[in-house]
Amino acid sequence: MIFDLLQYDFIIRALVIGVALAVSASLLSPFLVLNHQAMIADGLAHVSFAGLALGMLLVNEPLYISIPFVMLASFLIKFLSDRMNGDAAIGLVSALAFAVGLIIIKKGSGFNYSIESLISGNIFTTSPTLMILGILSTILIFIFVLYFYRKLFLMTYDNDYAKFSGIKVTLLGYLLSALTAFFIAVGVRTIGVLLISALVIFPSVISSQFTKSFMMTLIYGTVASVIVTISGIFIAHPLNVPAGSTIVIVYSIILGLILIFKKVLRGEKS
């Protein structure tokens, strides 16, 4: 049955963008989740809702507006985070953006997109532009993480020591924000506004159940992310349900099983 599905172009495109997003998300995951920044993905997803609404009103390809829009918002969040509580900064910027987005949709003349399609996304209607942008985000994030891995690791666990070691923590922090914004803006089109942050959060949470090493957390997270995304797509299509939702549910079941299994194992030991 799987091979039958592979005949269809839209399935192939869904798999390509799915794997690209899965790899991007899992590479960003430990540096955000383990640094108490998991919610930045959620906040930026809300921002991209406004970015897309604005883009749909102004141009043919809304991503050309929404990507720079979300990046600017990520810089604003970063800027505010240095001056107030990080959670508060994310909450402020995302609420403002969402509010603006809703007004644009209400007042924008000739707005013919459904809000539901924005909120849940659709991986099976991936356009070639979206696919290229998705692959581009993966390549950029891959190079960034590979090149700065040791610096990013030190920043994640001890920001002061990173600063002391001469690492340009502010610059790297802004770069990490910008790439996260790029990934979110692209990902929202396929996975949806409300679910895209799960793609960032799950990989590290799941892989850190298995390993004590930071690098292994990154690697296992990427493997898990790719497997879950591919299976999510294959499960979602025949059932005619959104792929984003299916991926999140598969992740949740796996995490639940791991936690139960660990508890049972610990119970046997004691």
Binding site: L34, N35, H36, L146, Y149, R150, F153, L154, T156, Y157, D158, D160, Y161, K163, F164, S165, S208, T211, K212, S213, F214, M215, M216, T217
Partner: protein, 223 residues
């Protein structure tokens, strides 16, 4: 190699450090003492570049510094191994540590009497063991100067004596400059050492012998 000229640090209206001027030469061993909240850690933070002075100038002429912070990052449940933490102290780091780097890390762990912890999770270590790992991180790049902010606070008493002997050896054999913040001078090496007594301002700066006289005088004032 380190020179402070009229350095002030203010937090709003609060003067944490007032008119700090002193000089540290290569090979000095300096203990910084003072009551709680006297600005010891603030002074260290200006030295390692984590805090900019409100006024005054700091000249630091050094290539490599080792630093053991007072507050250790133990709050986050980050999966990371002892090896990963120590490697983050290297000046040049690669994606995969070289065999020589691995041997160097292992030999330091042996010197700190915790060789079995190499691949262990930082999260499962005791406070004292973590402290030793962070000390190795500070020393692994063979720094010209070692700055320690109350290092013994978390160390187990049995290792404390060994730790002070280690500092003394590094000072004498490698001519390493050491700056050591402490609230307890009992165990530390004192011969040929400088003492700075700080309470927002520098109240005393000189050799240990003169510091004894200074302390006596202070006590008389108190009485």
């Amino acid at each position: 190699m380190i020179q402070y000229d009229h350095v002030n640090v203010n937090f709003g209206n609060y003067h944490a450090l007032i008119d700090i001027s002193f000089k540290i030469n290569k090979g000095d061993f300096l203990h910084i003492v003072g009551p709680n909240g006297s600005g010891k850690s603030t002074l260290i933070k200006t030295m390692v570049g984590l805090l900019k002075p409100s006024s005054g100038t700091i000249h630091i002429d050094l290539n490599t510094m080792g630093y053991l912070p007072q507050k250790l990052e133990t709050k986050k449940q980050i999966p990371m191994t002892v090896k990963e933490v120590i490697y983050s102290g290297f000046k040049k780091q690669k994606l995969k540590p070289s065999i020589n780097d691995e041997l160097l890390m292992k030999s330091w762990l042996e010197q700190m009497e915790i060789p079995e912890l190499y691949d262990k999770s930082m999260f499962n270590l005791s406070g004292g063991q973590q402290q030793r790992v962070y000390l190795i991180r500070a020393l692994i790049s063979n720094p010209e100067i070692l700055i320690l902010d109350e290092p013994t606070s978390a160390l187990d008493p049995s290792f404390r004596e060994k730790f002070h002997l280690l500092l003394k050896a590094m000072h004498e054999e490698k001519n390493m400059t050491i700056i050591h913040v402490t609230h307890d001078l009992t165990d530390v090496a004192k011969d040929n050492c400088h003492i700075m007594y700080i309470d927002q301002q520098i109240k005393f700066f000189g050799c240990y012998k003169d510091f004894n006289l200074f302390e006596h005088k202070e006590h008389h004032h108190d009485l």
